[in-house]
Symmetry: D2
Subunit: 338 residues, 4 copies
């Protein structure tokens, strides 16, 4: 349930409402939009006396939020979420979050070389898998802690921030200390234990959509993180599973405007995993930027043919540079900056 109040409402009214609702065992979240103050009540809202609240001075309206996600809902938080690391905006406010790097970290030289190149093309974030979720237990599982150290070296060398995937709650502390943006992969989108613990961290979480997750389930997973106190969730559309086989997954491009409608959270697109095809990274990136995505995460490898994983979908740093240049005019025409 949300209670909309006038901006100039008496502070006491806000306090009174909060107290009353919290006394009933519910939680209250406060947000401010350009036009109003919004109090969101989470819990069994049936016990609230709506009429009484409606009659308070400064209350514009009271309405029920039927969606099961609350903190992730645009109704609770009408303005777009802007996420910062320190003072720096990393996503939101029209700035595209450009993340690039190899599927797997393979060596210090490799990751530093790629980092320097994608930085020159305007990327601000380096992606790279240290812990790799692989369908087969016999496939390369990543360099793990060693890989993480290499990412840190690349950060030192370039200033790029690190985005990498967390797979086990055993690594929470290390990730909190060393990683700038923590990725939760598609396979763990409903690993609720991991979500809850990520919700206790003070780090932006990049939450990929599950391979066959509905948009509602995805927002509910964001809610798991947010309900533990961490509001810095970035969603990432990476293709869904359908019957079509010419592409590895089917990029659900409609998910971007749909998420923007239902939620205030930023959303980026992963064109590399969506299609699994190098030559499709560019057209999918164009569509993503034109439709209003807040960023892109792209696999870039210095030698895609020899990549230890997902080489088929990786592009070279030069291709990355070309694509970024061709994206600029599209970004501009929808009021975004790369």
């Amino acid at each position: 349930m949300i209670i909309k109040l006038k901006k100039d409402v008496d502070e006491k009214v806000i306090l009174e409402i909060k107290e009353k609702i919290e006394e009933l065992g519910l939680t209250v979240v406060e947000n401010t939009s350009k036009e109003e103050i919004i109090l969101g009540a989470i819990g069994n809202t049936k016990v609230i006396d709506i009429e009484k609240i409606k009659n308070l001075d400064g209350v514009i309206d009271v309405c029920v939020v039927k969606e099961a996600y609350k903190r992730a809902s645009r109704k609770f938080h009408p303005e777009d979420t802007v996420i910062k690391i320190g003072d720096e905006v990393i996503i939101g406010n029209g700035k595209l979050m450009m993340i690039a790097g190899p599927c797997s970290v393979e060596s210090e030289e490799q990751v530093i070389e790629i980092a320097k190149k994608v930085k020159a093309s305007g990327a601000k974030f380096l992606r790279g898998g240290a812990f790799k979720p692989r369908t087969s237990p016999y496939a390369f599982q990543g360099l793990k802690y060693e890989g993480l150290e290499m990412l840190k070296k690349a950060r030192e060398a370039t200033g790029l921030k690190i985005v990498t995937e967390l797979m086990s709650i055993d690594d929470l502390e290390v990730f909190e200390k060393d990683v700038d943006v923590i990725q939760i992969g598609a396979r763990n989108m409903q690993n609720f234990d991991l979500l809850k613990k990520a919700g206790k961290l003070n780090k932006p979480i990049l939450l990929k959509r599950g391979i066959a997750a509905t948009i509602e389930e995805w927002l509910m997973s964001a809610e798991y993180i947010m309900s533990e106190g961490n509001s810095n969730v970035i969603l990432c559309e990476r293709g869904i599973r359908t019957y079509e086989t010419t592409t590895r997954n089917t990029l659900d491009i409609s998910a971007i405007p749909m998420i923007k409608k239902l939620s205030h959270l930023p959303i980026i697109v992963d064109p590399s995993h969506a299609a699994g095809l190098r030559w499709m990274v560019e057209p999918l990136s164009k569509a993503a930027v034109a439709i209003g995505a807040d960023g892109l995460i792209i696999e870039v490898h210095n030698n895609p043919e020899k990549a230890l994983c997902d080489g088929k979908q990786s592009i070279t740093p030069d291709m990355y540079d070309d694509i970024v240049n061709r994206l600029r005019p599209i970004a501009e025409s929808v009021d975004r900056i790369i």
Copy 2:
């Protein structure tokens, strides 16, 4: 199988190859690209003596086309197909085919009013259902021949060309006489009887993708039309059936670059049916243009709330005008003109 020949090859060599292959009971199709002449052989190509052909003067290469579609394949026809009505290019060459109009034709006034408005916004084609394929036999089935007459009146009044759906082979003659671009709907994409008969007409065919058709099946359906002699096929992506329910269908945006890779046929996008949501027409149209679609077919109704069918997804002429204006810079940035 395709045989690539030098542009300056001796005419006799071409004739010789054709004759030999046709003697074996196969069909030969000839196409010319910027760099070479291509002879495509269709049929049981195992009986052809490849080595003999390879050794002929002027033959660059001989290769097998493993795809089951041949005439629709880019290998047979490397250049993009450009479709004309009379001398006028209607699709191809960077010109976006803009089709707009109501789901169903409801009255002469309605359709003429909409036609005038979308024309003012740059549309060159008027869509409007006269014969409506409806899931329920009790739902409004269209004004039929009367509706067709109204479309003709609107064409007279505005000069817009007519795009409308053909549902029965009983109406082939009427459609050939009266309609400019004949639409075959998603539900009839594998109505092979209809496809074959449409293949004998001298009219552009707009072939919508079946609700759960693979890209290969779709191209095979185009091949059914083309194999009867009609090469003027325009493909239309209109959303596929997936598990996601917030949108009516899931627009398969990857289908556009995939079709461009596999085929030379033009492809347009139907953002109205894809999502079934009025407010999503604009973002999906932007993505479609940015990714390289050759046109858009959009439902426009003068009074969407009272539309006899699909009102929820129809936009007003004013909204259409706004969308087209916002599409122009994106179109420009990918070398397309509206």
Copy 3:
């Protein structure tokens, strides 16, 4: 809307209700179950004065049928439909409809040989494609009228009834004359022109489920046939399209009890097309019989390795005989007879 009346209601009341409703422009269908007489009204039922009807003598209840299918709904027709050809029950009343035969009719000898064998194993129906819907225009399209003649010869030789697919309205007359049960294939499930015309025939129609049709759409397609007067519709579940690729399609086994719940129409299963794998015909047939299907349509070929189409999924007559024998005890345990 349906009106339930006592069995001993005065005839005049029935007539009165019918007249009143028909005067309003609606259609009335009458059915009788063990316990009551049911009048079903089809059309804009909002104009009916429900209270008035409820108060008539002998009226038990009046209720709205929210489903868009009416004649196909169990609410309109509570008892299972039993279909006869002449005096012989072909499906319903616990008798399994066993249909067997080759994917394509290839020669008179072939089809007669198979027919004799499957008859010996208890089949009463011979299936065989004369007109074949093929994804590719270059694939074998069936022997057409010649194939139909061969089927007739096999019928003469064995007494088996013929089930074969109708693809074009051009062949309606021939099929009405020569075929016992007319099949409408998955690809034509929403070829509404064909459905309507099949609805005017006096022949049982075997309606296959479209590759990605919902159960509701399927029942609506049955309704298209029934609304033209032909109530003899047999539904056939043949696998739906999903993301899973180890089987060609995914047999939707739940569709059988769901159809039985929503509709009174008989439903059979096609285990051959569902999986596309010979060895899976037996287990799927067992599941189908156990769950309550009213019959099976199985591809049987005398030489599956050399079949002109779908050989991989065809079984030999001997395998068919074995399977039928192993199905008998399962059939018995759910009160069905083969």
Copy 4:
């Protein structure tokens, strides 16, 4: 790669082969079937000199296993796996594993009452959620450790073994101590961290299929568990996500024979979650038993209308008893015992 040896092969040959392969850094698994001894090599098998091994005395054949799952493959282990707890067979050898109980454990009385009743109907296992994976963080998450204690009380009272879901690696020790069969839910099917740790336990693991997992991915997840040393994996088909909405999921009945073909692991069916509809539990159970499933896991609640979760799909103990009775003749006809 697998090496097939004669049953009477000289022990030394086996040892020699094992040593050679292990020296190359690969792992060797030994299994015995009725007819042969099978050595399975896991790792980079390209370095093995196949011809040399083929020529050894007692070697019947050497062949490459192209599937990525090895220990889970029937090629490595031709006979069906039989799982025991202590000396008691719990699944395999024709004995159906019957698991019944409430979605969530709600109180000691509830769970003991249900346990007694389902035991009387022949169940040997009590299911009950103590830790519940819920799409929403605000939905009832289970009684947790308290719930586990109640399950233990019910075990004491009835002798039924406990099957319950593990969601966090934090609870591994407790589950190892207290639970008889550990369930890994659909949402965690690719939580590789959890799988690996479950692979180190000496407990049977019930591995549910992910909502949109392919059969290959599912077997790979079993392989994750098995590759850590735990071979006691029971697969559970519980419906997959498709476009159809009349059932909550679509039971992939073909998965049962397919798993039996590809793997030696036992497989059970969850008819309750598959359809999400109480009345469909019986027909789906019949299909599952007829097609050869090794067991059933069914939600049974003493008061389904008031269940804290999934009440709509729960049946009463009386309904359970009826269903089991009607399943017996079907089980018998496919050589299974309840």
